[in-house]
């Protein structure tokens, strides 16, 4: 199907090499840079489809595996493969990339080739993060992502971009070096860098606690969790639209992915002992950050805080496992929580991407993100209003949209764990609706606020296409999530076994 090419390597290296070509050949040739990038993005997306169609949903084993020695001295392998946890995220990445390229079409005017090249390279690297099964390979991709992101935010971002990008880089760098030390320690114990070997090796309790904490720091910064979330609003507000989309839709997922790939299966006992920590932080994120979102004046900042709050559901769903198993004696409810968390990740990828693209549409026309600068936009941009309200509803978790499915599953699971967890988690349905709808009301409805709004033009064809694609994805996933759940089911079941089996 894929011309005999190793599919995962192709997905990683095609965008990276394409990005380098754009970087070197595209100087002062903006049209070439755009069309070439679009071609690469579309091609990568098409090539990633076989991952879905040829995926074997009956097994939790790694599929599409590639394995060759890379640094034999340390038994470091070029080891790639996907299972039900990573495959949807790879597809999410390739899908989002097409929209990212399209969204920058007319907006970016300075150094187009550097912008497009950076995003293509990022795409390949992010796919590498999700596909890597060797810890060092994973780390290399994980860190390499920082470089293009650093440049993108710092160069094309808003007024405080330099502060934001330095903060972003240093926070994430600090988080990940501890993870590296943990990897090295486990290599020292097991003689292997394979993530699957890490998952099978026994680890003593003290070591597990330290490893768990190292992972927690690395992933919590990336997700981001309270109290290390402060880089995100800064980075988001200052990043260009596509930067925000990539940050929210994919990079945040890397943290969540880290928990299911590393924390739960590698340190199950420590996860069980310290699950309260993650749960409390998640609940704070859901409740407190939700309230913080309510008072924002800047639309992007509002969506950024809402992202943190939504990612709280992801971590909550993952770490409820232990309480549920303890309370109910069965893994049934835990399964719902984990699957809910995974669906929430994918769904949030679509929704936050859609929200940021929608804000980008407004920003391109008015060059402000202040909510107070708008009002009555729907009168001038009916189509846009339609999409924006749809996305906002999805963000608030309206049934029938993808936002509902994940949140609902996690809330059900949390009631099984502890009624108060469920109570706090469910409060998001109110708070989330409040901050999203209030923003929609102030921006879109009411009379036309000022002369600037009065001259707004509705979506053009390119924007229309982007919006339709996302709207369809959000609704389809909301109405019929079964295919996604099927893909994940075997892997989540295996994860649950790993997470609840002691490794002492």
């Amino acid at each position: 199907m894929t011309l005999g090419l190793p599919i995962l390597s192709t997905l990683i290296w095609l965008p990276i090499i394409g990005g380098l070509l754009v970087l070197f050949l595209g100087r002062d040739r903006d049209n070439f840079a755009k069309w070439f990038s679009l071609a690469i993005a579309v091609l990568t997306f098409l090539l990633s489809l076989p991952l879905w169609t040829q995926f074997d949903t009956t097994t939790a084993a790694m599929q599409f595996v590639e394995k060759t020695p890379w640094i034999p001295t340390f038994n470091i392998q070029y080891y790639l493969g996907v299972d039900g946890l990573s495959m949807p995220l790879i597809l999410l990445t390739t899908f989002t990339q097409v929209l990212v390229v399209l969204s920058a079409w007319t907006v970016i005017k300075e150094r187009v080739e550097q912008y497009m090249g950076a995003f293509l390279i990022m795409q390949g690297v992010m796919i590498g993060v999700f596909a890597a099964l060797d810890a060092i390979l994973f780390y290399v991709f994980w860190e390499a992502l920082l470089i293009p992101m650093f440049v993108v935010i710092g160069k094309w971002g808003g007024p405080r971009r330099v502060y934001a990008t330095l903060k972003f880089f240093l926070y994430t760098f600090l988080g990940s070096v501890f993870m590296l030390v943990a990897f090295l320690y486990m290599h020292y114990q097991s003689g292997s860098f394979s993530i699957l070997d890490f998952q099978n090796m026994p680890i003593a309790m003290t070591a597990q606690i330290f490893i768990f904490l190292a992972f927690l720091v690395a992933f919590a910064v990336k997700i981001p969790m309270f109290p290390v979330h402060t880089w995100l609003p800064d980075a988001h507000v200052e990043a260009p639209t596509a930067g925000s989309v990539v940050l929210a839709a994919i990079m945040l997922k890397m943290g969540g992915y880290g928990f299911v790939r590393f924390s739960l299966p590698i340190t199950p006992d420590a996860s069980m002992t310290l699950d309260w920590l993650v749960i409390i932080l998640s609940l704070i994120a859901i409740l407190y950050i939700g309230l913080v979102a309510l008072v924002q004046n800047d639309m992007k900042k509002l969506v950024a805080y809402s992202s943190i709050s939504h990612m709280g559901f992801v971590t909550l769903g993952m770490f409820l496992v232990y309480d549920i198993v303890q309370n109910t004696g069965s893994t049934q409810g835990a399964m719902i929580g984990l699957e809910g968390a995974m669906i929430q990740m994918v769904s949030h990828g679509f929704i936050s991407g859609a929200m940021f693209l929608a804000i980008g549409v407004l920003y391109d026309r008015m060059h402000t993100r202040e909510i107070s600068a708008y009002g009555g936009v729907v009168n001038k941009m009916p189509w846009f209003g339609f999409f924006a309200v749809l996305f906002a509803m999805a963000n608030a978790g309206l049934p029938g949209t993808s936002g509902f499915v994940g949140e609902f599953m996690v809330i059900i699971a949390s009631f099984k764990a502890n009624i108060w967890y469920g109570f706090v988690a469910a409060s998001t349905l109110i708070i989330g609706a409040a901050y999203t709808l209030w923003m929609v009301k102030r921006v879109f409805f009411g009379p036309v606020a000022n002369d600037n709004v009065a001259v707004l033009e509705d979506l053009n064809k390119r924007e229309m296409m982007i919006m339709w694609t996302l709207a369809i994805a959000i609704v389809v996933l909301g109405v019929y999530p079964a295919p996604l759940i099927d893909v994940m089911h075997s892997s989540v079941a295996q994860l649950l076994v790993q997470a609840t089996t002691s490794k002492l």
Binding site: F74, I136, A144, I147, L170, V177, L180, V181, L184
Partner: protein, 479 residues
């Protein structure tokens, strides 16, 4: 008493180098008027030839000759090869720089060659006297090279400073040597090791001598608290000399440390390990913090170099062959990255502007996007961010420290790595995010240097994607 003619074969590269250098030194006085670059080309050819000699006689066994004073093994061969390689690069950069600043002279290259000879001797020394000899050959060449730019007060001051402090360090080293000799009655490293292991040496005298030796080594490598000379000398010396000073001699310094501590004093491992832990932590911390406030790039790179020395010492602290191999890998990468970093400064130096301030790099992405990208490669490699090769250097030493059971030390190291990332990012920020009023194009001195910088910087990326051959080379040499 029989006089046995020693085997000269292992030292052929050194002897050839000495002969060629002396020849060039003499010839230069006749050439310099009529053929300006003859010395330069002759020096480069000699280096290539010596490199060829080393490769063609590359051996995996250990050969000791000259009554135990000279050793040739694959460790020495690999380090010598990289010394040759970096020096070839240094000479390429220097020629253009010397012309640009109008103090081109053949002596620069003959002195450089003598320096290489000194480093060779240090790398292959198997007793204290030979080591001292090599060190002095190298140091004297460096003093003279720094002072070569006679019209620059900074350069002369740097040379004086380096000379005085260098002499002090050598004094310490010699004092330590004499005590070790006093305690063991031997100057040969392998002999010393045996005597100490057998317990036939006075422990107090040994420890006393060890402290002085470690101080001397720390001075030479530029480790805290004996690092004061480094920033001043790096900044004051002409950029081409800084380039030389900051790269190849570090490889030799590493070899000196290895020969003395590992070959000679392995019995005192528990004594020097503790000393090195302190020095290493101090170096990493000082390197990370003090570099942040520098606005001169050469000075910043000097402090960053101090931090790197701290990382190299981590490999020694692990106190096993894998650890030394990781330090060896680190020092080689450090030298190559140094050639790239200081080479960038040299390449962009225009008449009247040394291009060594961070403010010079502001807006470089607009003024020369290609060079800005290369500088980005170099900075991220120094910061240890994958996929650049600097990452693997840090990875290996930290790995070995963890394997040796010093996980806490690894944590300290990675934290300083994060802090030091800040000042490398500062340079990237200046190039990419800040606007320069002056939008005129910045060119390299010549297109040759453009190629040279690009080659080294891209090598950092390529080695980062495919690091395995160099890693296995280092690990097999000390296995």
């Amino acid at each position: 008493m029989n006089f046995i003619i020693p085997s000269f074969a292992p030292a052929i590269p050194e002897m050839v180098l000495l002969a060629l250098t002396s020849l060039i030194l003499v010839a230069d006085t006749f050439w310099s008027k009529r053929y300006q670059f003859a010395t330069y080309y002759a020096a480069q050819l000699s280096l290539v030839f010596v490199g060829y000699l080393i490769i063609s006689s590359f051996t995996t066994s250990t050969v000791i000759t000259f009554d135990g004073s000279f050793v040739r093994d694959s460790f020495a061969d690999i380090l010598k090869l990289f010394i040759v390689l970096t020096t070839i690069g240094i000479f390429v950069f220097s020629r253009e720089y010397l012309l640009q600043f109008k103090f081109f002279a053949g002596e620069f290259f003959s002195l450089g060659l003598f320096g290489v000879l000194g480093m060779f001797v240090m790398v292959s020394a198997n007793n204290l006297i030979t080591m001292y000899l090599g060190l002095e050959i190298m140091s004297l060449s460096l003093y003279a090279m720094i002072a070569m730019r006679k019209d620059s007060a900074h350069a002369v001051e740097s040379a004086m400073k380096y000379f005085v402090l260098g002499a002090l360090a050598t004094g310490m080293l010699l004092y330590g040597f004499s005590m070790i000799y006093g305690a063991t009655g031997s100057i040969t490293f392998t002999e010393m090791a045996k005597i100490i292991e057998a317990g036939n040496a006075d422990k107090v005298v040994l420890s006393f001598g060890l402290v002085f030796i470690v101080i001397g080594l720390a001075f030479k490598l530029g480790a805290v608290p004996f690092h004061m000379w480094m920033p001043d000398v790096y900044q004051g010396a002409p950029s081409a000399v800084t380039l030389y000073l900051a790269t190849a001699p570090k490889i030799a310094g590493f070899a000196m440390m290895y020969r003395i501590l590992i070959d000679g004093l392995p019995g005192l491992v528990h004594d020097w390990q503790g000393l090195l832990i302190m020095i290493s932590i101090l170096s990493m911390v000082v390197g990370a913090f003090v570099a942040i406030v520098q606005d001169n790039l050469k000075r910043m790179l000097a402090y960053s170099g101090i931090g790197h020395v701290g990382f190299i010492l981590l490999g020694f602290i692990a106190a096993n062959p894998e650890g030394y191999s990781s330090a060896m890998f680190y020092v080689i990468i450090y030298a190559i990255t140094g050639v790239a970093g200081f080479g960038m400064i040299v390449a962009l130096a225009k008449t009247g502007n040394e291009f060594d301030k961070i403010s010079d790099f502001v807006g470089l992405n607009q003024r020369n996007p290609w060079m800005a990208l290369m500088m980005l490669f170099i900075m991220f490699s120094m910061a240890g961010v994958p996929p650049f090769v600097g990452f693997y250097a840090k990875l290996l030493v930290i790995e070995e420290v963890v394997n040796a059971g010093f996980t806490w030390l690894a944590v300290v190291a990675v934290i300083t790595a994060v802090i030091s990332a800040f000042y490398y990012l500062k340079v990237v920020k200046a190039m990419y995010f800040d606007n320069n009023e002056d939008k005129s194009k910045v060119d390299t001195i010549s297109s040759e240097l453009n190629w040279a910088v690009s080659l080294v910087a891209i090598a950092l990326l390529v080695m980062g994607i495919l690091p395995s051959s160099l890693i296995s080379l280092c690990y097999s040499s000390l296995a």
